[in-house]
């Protein structure tokens, strides 16, 4: 077979590689450039509580969860896990903050009542915190280590194994 005959199959190789790359990539996933970078600072007005700022939690590991009452079923699936994890780790130095995004206040409060949330949660007027964290859907969870660095970002409902693993990692760091 002459080199000319091999030219057509060879020309197809880059195309096949490109297609393979394209089909293996989730077009809806947006890789966060914030992972392993310093977490953007914020201040949030907690429902029925005092304001909480990330600066005020310097040197402490933080789990920052973005949720909404209209986010069904993912937020409803992970909510009991979040509350259980908070109960387990609240006395071990872990901080957990919930950010209720693009929600009606009453619906957000109802959601918190339904799942007996006792960790601080607050609304995000103008989606400022959400945009600052590059959030593009709910739920999304950021694991921030003691150094204030985002160690890991999870998109979608949390699982018991994943939250346990990531909390152990930021508690050790």
């Amino acid at each position: 077979m002459s080199w000319k005959r091999a030219l057509i199959p060879l020309a197809c190789v880059p195309l096949i590689i490109l297609l393979a790359y394209g089909f293996r990539t989730d077009p809806k996933a947006i890789p966060s450039p914030l992972v392993q970078k310093m977490a953007p600072g914020f201040r949030i007005a907690i429902y029925d509580g005092e304001d909480v700022s990330l600066e005020g939690l310097k040197g402490k590991p933080v789990v920052l969860n973005f949720w909404a009452s209209w986010c069904y079923p993912a937020c409803y699936e992970e909510a009991p896990l979040l509350q259980a994890t908070w109960q387990k780790y609240k006395d071990k130095g872990l901080h957990m903050i919930g950010v209720d995004i693009q929600d009606k206040e009453e619906s957000g409060r109802e959601f918190m009542r339904r799942f007996n949330f006792t960790f601080p949660n607050g609304p995000d007027p103008g989606s400022k915190i959400s945009i600052d964290y590059g959030v593009y859907g709910v739920p999304e969870t950021f694991f921030i280590n003691r150094g204030g660095r985002i160690a890991y970002k999870h998109v979608g409902a949390l699982t018991p194994d994943l939250i346990e693993e990531q909390i152990q990692a930021i508690l050790k760091e």
Binding site: L18, I30, S32, S127, I131, Y136
Partner: protein, 184 residues
Amino acid sequence: MGLTRRPLRMPGTQVSRGVRVWLIALLVYSSLEVALGAFAATGPGNTGAPAESPDLDERVREVASELRCVVCQNLSVADSPSDLAKEMRNLIRELLQQGKTPDEIKAYFQSRYGDFVLLEPPKRGFNLLVWGLPFVALGVGACGVYLVAKRWTMGKHESAPPLDPVYAERVRRELKEREGSSGP
């Protein structure tokens, strides 16, 4: 007794006294409003950049049209009806009012959402393929056309019938005669 004829009333040629008074009042009011509006725009209390100026709206739109709505399919932040895009437009407006340049604002969104948020991918890394491939394809296509055209023309030469030896001998002889007759 004959009937008194009244001329037909042409629109615009005859206006009753009452209507005339109203028209003059309206004209005076509009002139005053224009004058007062001009004063308000250039008056000492005006900072020169009203929050809702059409210019600011246009600048917001320009920046937003270069950013991708992260919750939509192929829509810019400017065109998206989603809540997040609306909040992004509000943030762009706020940042512009703070004096940030469009490049700084785009860089901010890029630092939060990565290159994905830019509707026009930056010319580096893997993205170079997107920019370079059309030109490569064009070059390959041009080479292909050249090669095919060359083959066609070569094919025509090859398929020409062989020259008749009698005719060739005649041409040679006539050429020789001509050279002989034109010599000294």
